[in-house]
Structures are given as structure tokens and as C-alpha cells.
């Protein structure tokens, strides 16, 4: 499932992951480490919601 950042609108797509943040493609949002932040605006995981 994709998750959207409530602050800036960035969409985390598990198929793509987040290479800048060290998240490999295929990683579910729930499996991302808790200290990961939005690559666009720096928001924490808690600021994301299902798209």
C-alpha cells in the first residue's frame, strides 16, 4: 500500500522504496525503520497516512 506525507504530499511507493533514505524497493511502509524521515520535507513516519 502507498502512503502519503500529510505535510508535503510526497507519496511513498513500496515498489520504488526510497534510495536516498536507504529503503530498498519492495519494502512495505510498516517495515521502514522508525527513524526514517520523508525525503522531501523531513516529516516522521507518524506524519504519513495510507493514500
Amino acid at each position: 500500500m502507498k502512503y502519503v506525507c500529510k505535510l508535503c504530499g510526497y507519496v511513498y511507493d513500496p515498489a520504488e522504496g526510497d534510495s536516498d533514505g536507504g529503503i530498498k524497493p519492495g519494502t512495505a511502509f510498516a517495515d521502514i525503520p522508525d527513524d526514517w524521515v520523508c525525503p522531501v520535507c523531513g516529516a516522521g513516519k507518524a506524519d504519513f497516512e495510507p493514500e
Binding site: L7, C8, C41, G42, A43, D47
Partner: protein
């Protein structure tokens, strides 16, 4: 002829005052004009913080040259890449040939996206917690992502107890005064609120985080110098700004209402006035704002102090009038919280207006405690009583919400 103005020992304002500007950032009005503030510190490393809007580059460079040959500048610090602060960067780089241009990690990306020449510039990325020395002074950087762009950053000079806050704490005021304590506090607060609620409001959660960070870091601040409007000097005024932003960000509902509407043949307008009477009977002050006569940003400045927003539109071609739709789009992006909504409108045959507005307000998180009122063609005495009752009911609901 233009002079730099010393705001602390060896710290100068070298900005531009734009009395003519009424268009701010392309989406908001700036009825009092604005300024593009940038600053110079003369230390072992001569450093400029931010630039100005491109067409004002000459004014700022002239002020700079009144105290130092621009070629002697060592560092530029770019706290934010938007055109009204970094737009004159090519002019400043050409005039100053700086050794380094400091920006945040997201600032680098934004500058790369804005300027073709960036590959030839000595960009140096600094992150939150990084410190550079200017000689007697140091600059501590604090990234303030989404306050109000991903790249936004504060620069803090502990030796001067001075915070360069970029867009945060700004106000659109063009004036010959440079300090907030030189103008009426009422005008100042109104301008701070107008600026916050049209630009910063969607990032209120970030504002609270940054305020908490500033508190945790125990920053000793006796001057806050934003990039628009007046500078806050003295500990008391610095504390006033932080406290005011906390109040804005918390968004406690105000016991006032704004009735915003557009109309075709005055039926919806007549309903708006009847709603206002009902609010008055509930003891809730209300302002009626026609979207033909008020820009969406002026309405938003009123929404700032109102816990209740009532929206009216006739049905037009199975939809709502475009100014109302535009206003709702604008308000949605600004994400106001903790508010009640109310809806009314006239129609001729299909009557979708109130349903459309209600859905859009609900989508923004507005509570809608009363059924909307819609009137076919022209309101009669009975339907105006319904409008009055709508105002009365919502006024009482607001009273209960405000406690």
C-alpha cells in the same frame, strides 16, 4: 545614494522596500506592499544572508556598496531558494565572487532546479547543527523544512543573539521603519496574521515542532530578523513573536464568523445578510465578504480569527460559482483546523450548490453541525427565517465549541 542600515554592531540590513507590490508569491495580495530583507555581517569573513527579488538586486547591491566593496564578500548564506530571496543570487555572485554559498541539503536541490548557472557556483551544503565560523562570530544552522518550503533554514548567530528566520515571522509591510517597535502593534499583528494564514498555516504542525526545537536548544535571542517586513528587537519582542506563532499554530477557534459568498441575482446575498442577523442574535460577531469584492487571500485573513466559516453560492450550471470554488480550493490548501462550517445558497432548477459546498467543507475537516439552507429562485419571508435560524444555530454551536 541608498545606504545600509546597521541593526547591531557590524550587522547591516541591506534589503529592498517594495511599496508597489500587491501580488505576493503569485497567490496572495500584499495590500501594504512588502520588503525583501537581506543582511550583511562584517567580521573576518564578510557574509551576506539571502538576496532579494531579482528586479530589486540593484537596490540591495547599492546598500551593500555603501559599507563595503562587494568584491570583499567571502560568504553568502541562502536560507531559502524562492525567487524573492534567492532570485538575485546570480547578481550577487557576479558582484561578490564569494568563496562559499551555504545552503541546506534541500536548498541545493532547489537552487539546482532554479538556476542554470549553479554548476559554476561554490555551493556548500550545511545541515541542522552545523556551525561555521565568521571570526568573532559563528553561524549555527537549523533546517526548518516545510516552514514553508522543504529547503527553508534558519541562521542563528549566538554571539549577537540574532536569528535570521527567512520567511518565518515575516509580514508584508513596506515602510521606512525597520523595527517592529516603531509601528502600531495592531497593524503589526494584523500583518503577521495575514502572512501566517495565507502562507504558513498548512505547516502549523512544523511550526510547533520548530518552536519546541528552539526552546530545547535554549537559544538566547534578542533579535529576530525575517526576510519580509519589520525586524523584532529586544528579548521582549523576540518572545512576543514566538508566542504569537504558537498561538497561530494552535488554531484555537475564535468566537467570530465570516460569511463568504458569491451571488448571481442577489438571492444568495440576501440569504447571507439573514444568516448574519441570526449569528448576531446568538451574540457572534460576523463579517460578510463577497468574493466579487474581496480577494481570496483577504477572506483567508478573516478566516484566521473565525471559528465559523459560512459559505454561500447559488447553483450555476449544476455546480457552484467559480469564485466560490476557487476560494474553497485555496482554503483547502491552507488546511485550517478546529472550525465549524455552514452552507447556504439559492437555485433555479437543479440545486446542487449546498451539497457540493458541504462535501468540500467536510473534506477539509470542517464540522457541519446544521443542515444547509437552500432556496428556490428568490427567498421569501419564510426562507429568510430559515437562514436566520441557521445563523442562530451555528452561532450557538460556535459558542459551545469555544467554551
Amino acid at each position: 545614494m541608498l545606504k545600509a542600515q546597521e541593526i547591531k554592531k557590524d550587522v547591516y540590513w541591506i534589503g529592498a522596500v517594495d511599496y508597489e507590490s500587491r501580488n505576493f508569491h503569485g497567490y496572495s495580495l500584499s495590500p501594504r506592499g512588502t520588503t525583501y530583507n537581506n543582511y550583511l555581517i562584517l567580521d573576518e569573513k564578510k557574509t551576506i544572508f539571502d538576496t532579494v527579488k531579482p528586479e530589486h538586486a540593484g537596490f540591495s547591491l547599492e546598500r551593500l556598496a555603501s559599507v563595503i566593496n562587494p568584491a570583499e564578500i567571502d560568504y553568502l548564506v541562502i536560507n531559502h531558494a524562492e525567487a524573492d530571496h534567492a532570485g538575485a543570487l546570480p547578481d550577487f555572485i557576479a558582484a561578490c565572487r564569494p568563496e562559499c554559498v551555504f545552503c541546506s541539503p534541500m536548498g541545493q536541490k532547489a537552487l539546482e532546479g532554479h538556476f542554470r548557472a549553479w554548476k559554476n557556483w561554490p555551493l556548500k551544503v550545511v545541515k541542522s547543527g552545523d556551525v561555521i565560523s565568521l571570526g568573532k562570530r559563528s553561524v549555527h544552522f537549523l533546517e526548518t523544512r516545510m516552514l514553508h518550503w522543504p529547503d527553508s533554514m534558519f541562521s542563528y548567530i549566538p554571539e549577537d543573539r540574532l536569528l535570521f528566520s527567512n520567511d518565518a515571522f515575516g509580514q508584508n509591510i513596506a515602510s521606512s521603519e525597520r523595527f517592529a517597535d516603531e509601528i502600531s502593534r495592531e497593524v503589526l499583528l494584523s500583518a503577521m496574521s495575514e502572512y501566517y494564514h495565507n502562507i504558513v498555516l498548512p505547516y502549523s504542525q512544523q511550526v510547533l515542532k520548530v518552536l519546541a526545537q528552539v526552546g530545547e536548544m535554549g537559544l538566547d535571542i534578542d533579535m529576530i530578523a525575517p526576510d519580509h517586513g519589520l525586524i523584532f528587537r529586544g528579548k521582549e519582542d523576540a518572545a512576543f513573536v514566538l508566542k504569537t506563532y504558537r498561538r497561530f499554530a494552535e488554531q484555537k477557534p475564535g468566537k467570530r464568523a465570516v460569511i463568504v459568498y458569491d451571488t448571481m441575482w442577489y438571492s444568495t446575498q440576501t440569504m447571507a445578510y439573514a444568516v448574519a442577523e441570526g449569528l448576531g442574535a446568538a451574540g457572534v460577531p460576523a463579517r460578510i465578504m463577497s468574493l466579487k469584492d474581496n480577494h481570496h487571500s483577504a477572506v483567508m485573513s478573516e478566516v484566521a480569527r473565525c471559528g465559523l466559516v459560512m459559505v454561500g453560492s447559488p447553483t450555476h450550471n449544476n455546480g457552484i460559482l467559480p469564485f466560490v470554488s476557487g476560494f474553497l480550493t485555496y482554503m483547502k490548501g491552507l488546511r485550517p483546523q478546529n472550525r465549524l462550517g455552514g452552507v447556504f445558497g439559492s437555485f433555479g432548477w437543479s440545486g446542487e450548490c449546498v451539497k457540493i459546498i458541504s462535501e468540500r467543507l467536510a473534506d477539509m475537516g470542517f464540522e457541519l453541525p446544521a443542515d444547509p439552507v437552500k432556496v428556490k429562485y428568490v427567498p421569501d419571508a419564510e426562507s429568510l427565517e430559515q437562514c436566520f435560524a441557521l445563523g442562530l444555530t451555528l452561532g450557538r454551536a460556535l459558542e459551545a465549541k469555544c467554551g
